[in-house]
Amino acid sequence: MTEPSCRDLFERLSEYLDGELAGPLCDALESHLRDCPACERFCATLRRTVDLCRQLPAVPLPDDVRRELRALLQPLPEG
């Protein structure tokens, strides 16, 4: 991945995964991924990283924090 083409690809991978890369550059990246197993594996694991982030559950709101917030925002009526 020290070849210029690999480094160029490396720099644009997130844009590619986000669908923000269009036209000839996107085609060139896809062609490179087909021919370079290391870059293809790197791309697959980066995609998995993004998927895991997107599925990360929210940090639960503790009950006492929720109660304090509700008290602070009074006079909103209780639901």
Binding site: P62, L69, P77
Partner: protein, 198 residues
């Protein structure tokens, strides 16, 4: 571009801006966990996250009428939350900033001249593996420098668009893309190390 997570319905937002108590309550219910979650991962402290949550929702409720609808309401809310986190930082509770360089994540050539990249994208989908990956992911996000963590949390975890993230953090869209990519690379590196561990 629309945000990936559900927006507050316009009808509720409009009623909340007119001071309707039920709509205000719905607005708070809609955002309180997301804002707390973002603050918790930004501040890395339960107490600071609580302060940021209170500060954000109080400021938002007070300033509701100033929301002009030029961007999404979620972006507007996270802009307030990000500013509240910055205020925490100015109080000296956060570490000094550190830059992430692209080159530190370039895979190094192995003995045959080709980079050795392990493919862990198809890890077993068991609950144990999921829990371990989730813990490793939380640790990896927590370890990111703040400027990169904010971008990754808003883009990938909270689902804001590039433009929305740029508005929330006072950055250009290009700066969001650059920081997001480096943040993802850093997180990927940490996950790879966890998955490859015997």
């Amino acid at each position: 571009m629309s945000e990936r997570k559900a927006e507050l319905p316009d009808q509720i937002l409009g009623a909340a801006r007119d001071g309707d108590p039920g709509a205000l309550r719905a607005l708070i219910e809609h955002y309180q966990e997301r804002v707390y979650s973002f603050a918790s991962r930004m501040c890395r402290s339960r107490e600071d996250a609580k302060d940021v949550l209170q500060d954000t929702l109080l400021s938002a409720v007070r300033a509701l009428r100033s929301f002009r609808g030029e961007g999404s309401f979620t972006t507007w809310m996270f802009r307030i939350a990000a500013n509240a986190c910055r205020k925490m930082r100015r109080r000296g509770k956060f570490e000094p900033e550190r830059e992430l360089s692209l080159d530190e994540f370039l895979p190094q050539p192995g003995h045959d001249g080709f980079p050795e990249v392990v493919d862990w994208s198809e890890t077993p989908d068991t609950s144990l593996a999921r829990d371990e990956l989730r813990r490793a992911l939380e640790d990896a996000i927590t370890a990111l420098p703040e400027a990169y963590r904010a971008v990754l949390l808003l883009r990938d975890v909270e689902g804001l668009s590039t433009e929305g993230t740029a508005q929330a953090l006072d950055l250009t869209p290009q700066a969001v893309k650059t920081r997001l990519h480096r943040a993802r690379l850093a997180v990927r590196d940490r996950l790879a190390a966890t998955v490859a561990r015997p």
